[in-house]
Subunit: 228 residues, 2 copies
């Protein structure tokens, strides 16, 4: 298996025209990641994006209906990429505890860039996901967006890791709740460490993802191994 041949496929169309297929599309993705990382999603606009890529608002609107759909696309891409990475790193590992441990390492690790998708800066995308990912579903349109399949990549990753939990303890009653909780915590704790340090023991350093992984493994294995 050659990692340079990876193509991330999404299970929905948050876009109107597939941005992976054109030069302009790839520039939209590439530069929007840069700009959202820079300005935050609230301050990010298609007008500003058009300016930095030397194109026009109207052209960007031909790819994405609005900036929310663009965020959905970016976040979904990240989840699909992480799901792939979890699979890759747990492949051929027999011990279910080791598999789960590695999965937690992957979901907390800061972005690992993929040489096959040069137009995606996965490190910057990971920073975006930490701050903005929950905004894709915390809206009034969540049920419509869910019907359109916008959260399938997130759910699939959650389900894959929940299956590892069940492989360790088939009687654990909350595998999905546990994993969705720690998937969210994986971001929150890193954010808290940097910005609201009194909410966590994790230190706001370069190593906060690893420290967060240690905390989450404590938590998950305690829950899964619990005598009832």
């Amino acid at each position: 298996m050659n990692t340079t041949s990876i193509k991330i496929n999404l299970n929905h169309k948050a876009y109107m025209r597939d941005p992976e297929n054109t030069e302009l599309g790839r520039r939209i993705i590439n530069e929007s990641i840069r700009l959202i990382d820079d300005l935050g999603f609230e301050q990010f606009t298609f007008r500003k994006l058009a300016n930095v890529i030397g194109s026009t608002e109207a052209s960007i609107y031909r790819y994405f209906e609005n900036k929310h759909k663009l965020l959905v696309y970016l976040v979904s891409w990240h989840w699909a990429w992480l799901d792939h990475f979890v699979l890759f790193h747990t492949n051929n590992i027999a011990d279910p505890r080791e598999r789960l441990s590695r999965a937690i390492d992957v979901i907390t690790s800061s972005g690992i860039d993929n040489p096959a998708t040069l137009h995606i800066n996965e490190s910057a995308l990971h920073r975006i996901v930490i701050v903005e990912a929950s905004k894709v579903y915390l809206t009034k349109e969540v049920d419509d967006d869910n019907k359109d399949g916008y959260f399938l990549e997130y759910k699939r990753l959650c389900h894959h890791i929940a299956e590892m939990v069940l492989a360790i303890n088939p009687d654990y009653p909350y595998p999905h709740a546990l994993i969705s909780t720690i998937m969210e915590a994986a971001h929150q704790q890193v954010f808290f460490a940097e910005h609201l340090p009194s909410l966590t023991e994790i230190k706001g350093t370069k190593r906060s993802p690893e420290e967060t992984a240690t905390f989450l493994k404590h938590l998950v294995f305690a829950a899964v191994d619990q005598k009832r």
Copy 2:
């Protein structure tokens, strides 16, 4: 102690003029809760609020610099109120496990209305907090807002519950990380149960807060009791 004499005091000024002191101020709070619950924070505007309370945008701007600060105010008020409620329900309980268990019940419980603060619809506010609370800190201005004390109520509640964890197990290394994780999960799981049910075993019914409390107690006591 008479519960009808409670006055929630915030440790910061997200407002320009204290809305508790005037009739218009109380109407702003009261109706903004209704309207945000109804429209979601993104669609909520001061213009729409001014229309429903029969006042003007300019008048509302004399109380709150912008809608983000109003949300900060509402969410802080909720945390201060919950902190008070946790104190109330754990007061005079000697057993630290029982104290922690009751604290978890309080943070997951849907809003309990306070007869002393009739202008606050705590049930609607609780629904707002579930969906919108994380948006108060997931911004580029988080560090400035933190300096202004906007998250003190949240941090204090987290710290109070973390102390209960330490009372049970003084060696547990992540009390604040654990509690901030479950405070966030208390909202997420209820939201997932209703809108993204494949992410959790909690069922999207009226009883989802109680079910979430059961899950969180499992998790917290497993972590705290863990043999290391």
